[in-house]
């Protein structure tokens, strides 16, 4: 196997829970609890999960936007947590993040041209005289017009802003793009535009994606390999076709069956999970899913299931398969 582009090993990220008058630490939210992901160049890895699953935290710790608690993150073999600040800064263009909210991720007081061009300048990727042309080019490749260059973010709609966000990342010629729910704030008709933009860019630039989403249908459309998270742990990873045709983990099955499909009167088997997602501050013992699992046994309450390979790179953490 060639060298992985992004190699996350046993990553943990705990957030302290602050409470009281002087924000005393009263506990920990285990947002990410021992996660390993390896992403090969050119691949699109989809990370799915519901709220509180820790999927966004994985994305942020993977590029050291927040500090980790334990584990290792290697980008092209370099341990990014061991890099001194300046070297990390110089590495940053290669790994970019697309934010969920296209409104808050653009500085309202910075013109689009500057927002896109400034990082190119700071990394010395092009002489200042070429910046405008470069920005215009990248705007065009993201479906925006060159006359947008002198405008401010508030003059754009949500979909356009998300294109700007993508252009801002793209202009640095990144190798890895982590997209954190990039379409969930957008309307259906705009979602489709942005999803298509993601696939076109991958084809033309050979990008690698870590695509984080709660929407299984979007992930199925875009990703070649998919991981399912629940309360900070990975419960199943497999290739797209394998995961959607033969899901093994009861949670994956339930998740798949819960997605409403726009075909009226469709008869299909439904696993409706009982109860709520437990708080990540106080996760259940054993298999974290046992409180909602329709097949849970005594063993699931007591033992943490091992993340096992079921053949053909299909991994699952469940006692029952």
């Amino acid at each position: 196997m060639s060298e992985a582009l992004l190699d996350i090993q046993n990553l943990k990220k705990y957030f302290p829970i602050k409470a009281g008058l002087l924000s005393r630490t009263v506990g920990q939210v285990k947002a990410v609890d021992d996660i390993s992901i390896t992403i090969q160049p050119g691949e699109t890895f989809g990370l799915v999960g519901e709220s509180g699953s820790g999927k966004s935290t994985v994305g942020r710790t993977a590029i050291r936007l927040t500090d980790k608690t334990a584990g290792e993150v290697r980008f092209k073999g370099t341990d990014i947590y061991s890099l001194p600040p300046e070297q990390l800064r110089q590495l940053r263009p290669k790994m970019q993040l697309i934010f969920q909210d296209p409104y808050s991720s653009l500085n309202p007081r910075v013109r689009i041209g500057e927002a896109i061009g400034e990082a190119v300048l700071d990394h010395g990727l092009a002489p200042a005289s070429d910046i405008r042309d470069i920005v215009k080019e990248v705007l065009a490749s993201c479906g925006l017009s060159s006359y947008h260059i002198d405008r401010f973010p508030h003059e754009f709609s949500g979909g356009q802003r998300q294109r700007i966000g993508i252009a801002r990342a793209l202009v640095l010629n990144p190798e890895l793009i982590i997209a954190d729910e990039p379409v969930s704030a957008l309307d259906v008709s705009i979602q489709a535009q942005i999803i298509n933009l993601f696939s076109h860019l991958q084809e033309s630039k050979g990008l690698t994606y870590l695509f984080i989403s709660h929407d299984l249908s979007v992930v199925e459309h875009l990703c070649s390999r998919i991981g399912v998270m629940y309360l900070g742990s990975m419960v199943e990873t497999a290739s797209r076709d394998e995961l959607f045709r033969h899901p093994l983990h009861p949670y994956t099955k339930a998740l798949l069956s819960a997605v409403p499909i726009p075909i009226p009167k469709l008869k299909r088997e439904r696993i409706v999970l009982k109860g709520d997602i437990p708080s990540p501050a106080n996760p259940p013992s054993g298999c974290k899913f046992h409180t909602r699992c329709p097949f849970a046994e005594q063993r699931c309450v007591e033992e943490v299931p091992v993340f096992r390979n079921m053949g053909g790179e299909h991994w699952v953490a469940c006692h029952l398969v």
Binding site: L21, L22, R24
Partner: protein
């Protein structure tokens, strides 16, 4: 829990200690002292008195002595009044408290009512009128409005007494005494209420406006509740909640008196006492007063933190 509270208290004590040192040094820097300014005394007597009061000792030593005494509950002896500082405070502070509590009560009452109505009728002519009123109240120089009202209501129309707490030479008792005090405190209370009501009304108005736009207010309406119930049960409870923190911040004002108002109205409160002492540089009293306010401020901050946590079900200690 306890270790954390200890930490918080420790920090509070540290701030107070630092504040006392700073205040002490500042007063020591202040030119003139009680004895130098007194022309009736001979030079020998002055030196003698300095020796007696320890004024010839180095600054730090004096501070340590003062602090040591303070720890034993002894805040010194007023040079001017020839009485223990604490005893003087006890005499004057309740007069200040009387003014403050009445005007604070009025301020809150008026602010809540007007704030709620103005928020409910945002952008109406009433709201605009209230806004202008709020800014007016926030922009009046306190001493000037005091003087101005005395001139109009006391000097020209003679409706109210111009100052003091009792008519000079009065020895009224019982109900008559009470009446006289009320008569005298009307004007200062009006002025103090006027000065405080602006910012508080603005606070309640903006709180209410925020709350009225919340989703749960829409839910309350969707349930078919009457507007009165929506406003006064659902909205006001939420708008009042953050105001609880203000109660703590009111503490220094409640007991600390008002330097300017008491001076203008010649009210025998602790603020007036301070102003008198300042002109004669009665250091023990000045020091005591300033520390008193500092302590009140610190306790008030602590209190508002605690109150907020007690009152808001969302925050658990």
């Amino acid at each position: 829990m306890s270790s954390y509270l200890m930490k918080r208290l420790g920090y509070t004590l540290f701030i107070l200690l630092a504040a006392s040192l700073l205040i002490f040094c500042l007063y020591a820097l202040t030119p003139g002292d009680f004895i130098t300014g007194n022309i009736k005394l001979s030079p020998e007597r002055k030196a003698e008195l300095r020796e007696l009061y320890g004024l010839n000792k180095p600054l730090l030593e004096r501070y340590v002595i003062w602090m040591n005494n303070a720890f034993h509950g002894n805040f010194g002896y007023s040079l001017d009044k020839q009485q223990p500082v604490l005893k003087l405070f006890n005499q004057y502070v309740w007069n200040s408290f009387l003014l403050a509590i009445v005007s604070t009560f009025l301020t809150w009452l008026i602010a809540v009512i007007i704030g709620v109505i103005a928020a409910y009728k945002q952008y109406s002519w009433f709201d605009t009128f209230v806004m202008v009123g709020i800014f007016a109240a926030m922009s009046i120089p306190s001493f000037f409005i005091g003087l101005f009202l005395i001139k109009i209501l006391a000097v020209d129309f003679k409706w109210l007494p111009p100052g003091g707490m009792l008519t000079t030479g009065s020895n009224a008792t019982g109900v008559a005494y009470l009446k006289e005090v009320i008569h005298h405190m009307t004007l200062p209370v009006i002025v103090m209420t006027l000065l405080g009501v602006g910012s508080l009304t603005r606070y309640f108005r903006s709180n209410m406006i925020d709350v009225i736009q919340q989703d749960y207010i829409r839910t309350a309406r969707a349930k078919g509740l009457s507007e009165r119930k929506v406003l006064f049960t659902h909205a006001l409870r939420n708008a009042l909640l953050p105001a609880i923190t203000l109660v703590g911040f009111e503490l220094p004002a409640l007991f600390g008196g008002s330097l300017i108002i008491e001076r203008i109205f010649n009210w025998p409160g602790i603020g007036q006492l301070y102003m008198q002492s300042f002109t004669v540089r009665d250091y023990p009293l000045l020091m005591g007063f300033t520390m008193f306010i500092a302590v009140l401020t610190v306790i008030g901050t602590l209190l508002s933190d605690i109150l907020y946590h007690v009152a808001d079900p969302r925050v658990k200690i």
